[in-house]
C-alpha cells in the first residue's frame, strides 16, 4: 500500500536562502511523524508548501500515491491535508459551531446557515475522538487547550486525513500538553496521520513513531524514538555537540539587590493580580518564579521594571525605593529587562539590528552627542555585539524583524547584558527558541549571575526554572505560595505547587478574594 503522503525532492529558494533543499518525506497511515529542527531550519516552509501557501520550485507531492498540486489551503483541504497553526485561526467572538462552519457553511433550503446540523456533527466528532467541547461556547471564553481542540475539530469536520501540528505545545501548560498527546494518539488509532513539528526533544520522544531531523533546509537524518536520546537528537539538530545541562556552581549569595515588600497590583480592570507578595533577590543569585502563565508573573515583572503601577507596597533596588518610578529611571539605576514578548516589547522590528542594540541607551554618550546620533559608534557597538553574542545576521543594517526568533532574542540579550547592571529581570528568556539558542542564553544568564548580578527569572517551563535557579518562588493566583531552594525540590513537588496544591497540607492554596482570570 502506498504511503498516505509522499514528498519528493521539494526545493524552495527564497532570496538569499535555500529554505528547502531536495527534501523527501514519507508519511504512513496512522503514523505520527515528528519533524524536528531548529528555528529557521525550513520546517515551516516545508509545511507551508504542503498547505498551499507557497509553491515549491522543484519536487512533487503525492497523496495516496497520486500526484497533486496544491495552490491554496482550499486545495490542501480537498486533498485531505489540514493544519493546526501555532497561532489559532479562530474568531474569538464566534461560537465553536460558527468557527467550525466558517468557510464551509452548510446551507439549508433558502439561505439560512444550518447551525444545528453542524453542532450535531461537532458532537459526533468530539465523541468519536474524545475531543470534549461544547459547540455553543464562545471561543473567547475557552482555555487555550480547548481552543486548540476546536482547531482540530475544524479539520476533522472537513475530513482531513493528514493533520499537521505546528509547534502545538508552545502555548499549552504541561497538563494541557499531555491531554493533546492523548488526543493525537486517539486520532492515529482511528487512522488519521499526523506530522508534528517541534523543537522540544522531550515531546518528540514521548509521542512520535518516527523522527525526521531537518537542518538548514536539508534532511539530516531519521531516528527511532525508542532508541534515540535527547543528546543525540539535539546534536543532529544543531550540528554540533550540545550541552543540555546548565553547568553552574553553588554560589553564596551576596547582599540583597532587589527587595519587594508587600506588593499589591491590580490589572486594568481593577482585578487584583498580585496579592501582597514579598521577595528578595540577592547579588549572585538567580531567583526563579515558577507558575502557570497568568498567575501574576507578568505583572510582577512589569511593576518591577516600571511598566505597570503598583497599588501599594514597596520595591527597592539596592536599598533605594524605586516603586512606580519610570522605566528609564529604573533602567539607568542599573537594571536590565528581557521582556516576555520580544517582538511586542523588546524590539522595534522594522528598525535595524544596530538601532535595536542601543534601544535603551541611544540617547547617552557615546551614541549621541547632544541630540545628534553617532552612527559610527552605534555601528561599532553593533559589530562588537554581533561578534560577542554570536548574532547571526547578514549585517547590522538589516531590520531586526528579518532575523530568526533566536537571533532576535540574542539581540535583546546582547543589549541588556552588555550594560553594567546589577539586576537582570528575565521573563521567559527562551520562549519559542531552539536548543542551540536556549543553551546559549542559559549560559549567558548563569555567567551574569557568576559576575555577581542578581537575576529574577520568570518562566512557565519547569525544566528551565529548575536548571537555572538558585531559589524558586512559586506563584499561584497572585500569591507566592512557596519559596524553596532549587536543589532541595523535586519536579513533581513543583508541578503540584504550580497547580496550587501544597504537598504537606494536600490542599489547594487559599484563594484570593477576586479570582484572577488567566489572560491570553
Amino acid at each position: 500500500m502506498a504511503p498516505i503522503l509522499q514528498l519528493k525532492g521539494i526545493t524552495k529558494q527564497f532570496p538569499g536562502i535555500l529554505a528547502n533543499d531536495h527534501i523527501d518525506l514519507t508519511l504512513g497511515k496512522g503514523e505520527i511523524l515528528a519533524l524536528l529542527g531548529e528555528n529557521g531550519a525550513g520546517k515551516t516552509t516545508l509545511m507551508n508548501i504542503l498547505y498551499g501557501l507557497y509553491q515549491p520550485d522543484e519536487g512533487e507531492i503525492l497523496v495516496n500515491g497520486e500526484k497533486v498540486t496544491i495552490h491554496s489551503p482550499t486545495d490542501a483541504i480537498t486533498s485531505g491535508i489540514g493544519m493546526v497553526h501555532q497561532h489559532f485561526m479562530l474568531i474569538p467572538v464566534f461560537t465553536v459551531t460558527e468557527n467550525v462552519m466558517l468557510g464551509s457553511e452548510p446551507v439549508k433550503a433558502g439561505d439560512f446557515l444550518d447551525r444545528k446540523k453542524t453542532a450535531q456533527k461537532i458532537n459526533e466528532i468530539s465523541k468519536q475522538y474524545n475531543l470534549e467541547v461544547n459547540p455553543d461556547d464562545y471561543v473567547k471564553d475557552l482555555p487555550v487547550g480547548v481552543q486548540q481542540r476546536v482547531e482540530i475539530i475544524k479539520l476533522l469536520y472537513r475530513n482531513a486525513e493528514i493533520l499537521i501540528f505546528d509547534e502545538p505545545t508552545a502555548v499549552l501548560t504541561p497538563q494541557e500538553a499531555d491531554e493533546l498527546f492523548n488526543i493525537m494518539r486517539e486520532l492515529t488509532k482511528q487512522g488519521k496521520s499526523i506530522i508534528f513539528i517541534t523543537h522540544k526533544l522531550r515531546e518528540v520522544l514521548e509521542i512520535s513513531n518516527r523522527i525526521m531531523v531537518i537542518r538548514r533546509g536539508k534532511v539530516v537524518g531519521e531516528a527511532d524514538p525508542k532508541t534515540a536520546d535527547n543528546k543525540k537528537l539535539a546534536e543532529m539538530m544543531v550540528g554540533r555537540e550540545v550541552n543540555l545541562v546548565v553547568e553552574k556552581d553553588i554560589k553564596k549569595p551576596g547582599d540583597v539587590v532587589l527587595s519587594v515588600e508587600d506588593l499589591v497590583v491590580a490589572d486594568q480592570f481593577k482585578n487584583l493580580v498580585i496579592d501582597h507578595i514579598s521577595l528578595d533577590v540577592h547579588a549572585g543569585q538567580i531567583l526563579g518564579v515558577a507558575g502557570v502563565q497568568g498567575n501574576g508573573q507578568t505583572e510582577l515583572v512589569e511593576v518591577v521594571t516600571g511598566l505597570h503601577k503598583a497599588v501599594s507596597g514597596k520595591i527597592a533596588f539596592k536599598g533605594k525605593d524605586i516603586t512606580n518610578c519610570s522605566p528609564r529611571v529604573i533602567t539607568e539605576a542599573g537594571t536590565a529587562h528581557v521582556p516576555e514578548d520580544r517582538q511586542a516589547d523588546g524590539l522595534v522590528l522594522p528598525f535595524t539590528v544596530a538601532e535595536n542594540l542601543v534601544l535603551c541607551s541611544y540617547y547617552q554618550e557615546p551614541y549621541a552627542h547632544g541630540v545628534v546620533l553617532q552612527y559610527d559608534k552605534i555601528l561599532e557597538n553593533a559589530e562588537k555585539m554581533i561578534k560577542d553574542f554570536d548574532i547571526r545576521t547578514p549585517s547590522p543594517f538589516v531590520s531586526v524583524g528579518t532575523l530568526s526568533g533566536g537571533n532576535q532574542q540574542k539581540v535583546i540579550i546582547a543589549r541588556e547584558l552588555s550594560r553594567p547592571i546589577e539586576l537582570l529581570v528575565a521573563s521567559q528568556p527562551t520562549r519559542g527558541l531552539d536548543v542551540g539558542s536556549i543553551e546559549y542564553i542559559h549560559k549567558r544568564i548563569v555567567q551574569k549571575r557568576d559576575e555577581g548580578c542578581a537575576v529574577l527569572l520568570i518562566s512557565p517551563e519547569l525544566d528551565e526554572i529548575i536548571e537555572l535557579s538558585d531559589r524558586i518562588a512559586v506563584m499561584f493566583r497572585g500569591k507566592i505560595i512557596a519559596t524553596v531552594n532549587a536543589d532541595e525540590v523535586s519536579k513533581e513537588t513543583l508541578g503540584l505547587l504550580m497547580a496550587g496544591i501544597i504537598p504537606e497540607k494536600g490542599e489547594i492554596a487559599s484563594k484570593t478574594e477576586k479570582v484572577v482570570e488567566a489572560t491570553f
Binding site: G306, P327, D345, L347, P350, L359, Y363, A368, L373
Partner: protein
C-alpha cells in the same frame, strides 16, 4: 578627490536607496533601478492613459470624428489627447523648442521666460513640500495629522499679521520673523490635538478635523474683522504685507520663482536629519513604530506625541506662511485648495520619507501647473488633472492593480508603507 566625485555621481542612487529604505551596504540582492521605479512609473503612465480616454470621451470633436469614420474618429482622439498632453508637458516643464531657441539666442530674458513653466512648477510644488513633510513626519511618529489644512490657515494668518502689522524692520529680520510666526502658530494649533491624545487618548484624527473647522471660521472672522483691509469694504481680505516681509522672488514678474522653494528643500533635509540622525527622530520613530517597545525603552510617549504634533504643525504652518510671504502677499479666503489633504496622499506616495515627499510634491506641482496650460490650449477643465492625480495615487497605493494590468510578479517586500500603530485604537 576621486572619492568625492564618485559620491556626487551616486547621489541619485543614494537618495533612491534612502527613499526605498534599502541599505546600500546590505549584501541582500539589490533591486534593479527599474524594479524600484516600476510601480510609480507605470502608475503615472496608466493614470495618464486613463486620463486620455476621459479627455477623448468628453471631447465633441472625437464624437464628430467617429460619426464620419472610425479612422477620423481615432485621428481626432489622437489629436485631442496629443494636444492636451503636449500642452500639459510644455506648460509644466517648458517647450523644448523654445528653450533651445532661447539658449541659442543667449538672451537672459528669453531664457528665463522659456524656463518659466518649469520654475512655475517649482513654485506650485513648494507648499506641497511643506505640507507633505508635515504629514510624513507625523506618520513616522504614528500620528495621522489630518489637521494640516487648519494648521496651514492659522500659520498663514500669523505670518500675514506679522507681515503687515510690524513696520520698519529690515528684510533680513522681518521675513524670518514672519516665517517663524507661521511655524509657531501652526505648531500651537497642532499641539491641541496632540495634548488631547496624550492626556485623554482622544483620537487625533477626530480632533484635527474639528480643529480644521475652527481654523476656517477663525480665519474668516479675522479677515472680515480684526485683520480686514482698511478701505476694503469689509471683504474677507487682509492688508498687503510689507515688502520687507516678502520671501524674495528671484526674477521679475511674471516669473514667481522664489526663495521659498529652497527653504522647503532645506526643511526636507532638516526633517530627514531630525528623523534619521538625531535622538529626537529616533524617539519619534520608535513611538510611531512600536509604542510598547518605546515604553519599555523608557521613552516618554506623551511628550513624544506632543513634540511630534508640534513639529508637524510647524511644517504645516510654514506651508501657509510660504504662500502668503512668497506668492500672495496678502491673505484672503480661498487660500488653499486642499494642500492639507493632498499632502496625506503625497506623504504616502513618498513613503513618508522627506526626499520621497519632495519628489511626490514635484510631481503634484508639475501636474497642477501643466493643467493651467492644458486649460488654456484645449479648454480641458482643470478637474481632469485632479482625476489623473487621483488615479496615479490609487495605482501607487494599490500596486496590485498595476501588477495585474502589467502582469508583474509580486514581491513580498512591497507591502504596507508605514505602520500607523495608533490606528489600532491603542493609546
Amino acid at each position: 578627490m576621486k572619492n568625492n566625485k564618485n559620491d556626487k555621481q551616486d547621489l541619485g542612487k543614494v537618495i533612491l536607496n534612502e527613499i526605498t529604505g534599502e541599505d546600500p551596504k546590505s549584501p541582500k540582492k539589490k533591486k534593479s533601478f527599474w524594479k524600484k521605479i516600476e510601480i510609480p512609473f507605470l502608475a503615472i503612465i496608466t493614470g495618464l492613459l486613463i486620463g486620455g480616454i476621459l479627455i477623448g470621451a468628453t471631447s465633441q470633436s472625437v464624437y464628430a470624428g467617429f460619426a464620419v469614420s472610425i479612422w477620423s474618429g481615432f485621428a481626432a482622439l489622437g489629436k485631442e489627447i496629443g494636444t492636451a498632453y503636449f500642452s500639459l508637458f510644455t506648460g509644466s516643464l517648458g517647450n523644448p523648442v523654445t528653450i533651445i531657441q532661447a539658449l541659442q539666442s543667449g538672451n537672459a530674458t528669453d531664457i528665463r521666460f522659456a524656463l518659466n513653466p518649469l520654475l512655475e512648477s517649482l513654485v506650485k510644488s513648494t507648499p506641497y513640500i511643506f505640507a507633505g513633510l508635515a504629514c510624513a513626519l507625523a506618520f513616522r511618529a504614528g500620528l495621522f495629522n489630518i489637521g494640516v489644512e487648519g494648521q496651514l490657515f492659522i500659520g498663514a494668518a500669523a505670518a500675514t499679521y506679522v507681515g503687515y502689522a510690524i513696520k520698519g524692520l529690515p528684510s533680513y529680520i522681518h521675513m524670518p520673523l514672519a516665517i517663524l510666526a507661521g511655524a509657531a502658530a501652526g505648531a500651537l494649533w497642532a499641539i491641541v490635538p496632540g495634548l488631547l491624545k496624550a492626556w485623554t487618548g482622544g483620537h487625533e484624527v477626530i480632533n484635527c478635523i474639528m480643529m480644521n473647522y475652527i481654523a476656517y471660521r477663525l480665519t474668516t472672522y479675522l479677515l472680515t474683522g480684526p485683520m480686514t483691509r482698511p478701505g476694503g469694504g469689509g471683504m474677507p481680505l487682509s492688508p498687503m504685507i510689507e515688502k520687507s516681509a516678502y520671501i524674495p522672488q528671484f526674477f521679475q514678474s511674471p516669473i514667481r520663482f522664489h526663495l521659498g522653494f529652497f527653504i522647503a528643500l532645506a526643511f526636507a533635509v532638516l526633517v530627514w536629519w531630525i528623523l534619521f540622525k538625531t535622538t529626537w527622530g529616533l524617539n519619534l520613530r520608535t513611538v510611531g513604530t512600536n509604542p510598547r517597545a518605546a515604553k519599555y525603552a523608557g521613552l516618554n510617549i506623551t511628550k513624544t506625541i506632543i513634540v511630534g504634533m508640534a513639529m508637524s504643525g510647524a511644517l504645516a504652518g510654514l506651508a501657509g506662511a510660504n504662500e502668503i510671504l512668497a506668492v500672495n502677499h496678502s491673505m484672503a479666503i480661498g487660500l488653499s485648495s486642499g494642500y492639507g489633504f493632498d499632502s496625506i496622499a503625497l506623504a504616502l506616495l513618498g513613503n513618508s520619507h522627506p526626499f520621497g515627499v519632495v519628489l511626490a510634491a514635484l510631481l503634484f506641482g508639475v501636474l497642477k501647473n501643466g493643467a493651467t496650460r492644458m486649460m488654456v490650449v484645449s479648454s480641458i477643465p482643470i478637474d481632469i488633472v485632479t482625476i489623473i492625480q487621483a488615479l496615479i495615487l490609487i495605482f501607487i497605493a494599490a500596486p496590485a492593480i498595476i501588477r495585474a494590468i502589467f502582469h508583474l510578479r509580486s514581491s513580498k517586500e512591497d507591502t504596507a508603507i508605514v505602520t500607523l500603530s495608533s490606528w489600532g485604537g491603542g493609546k
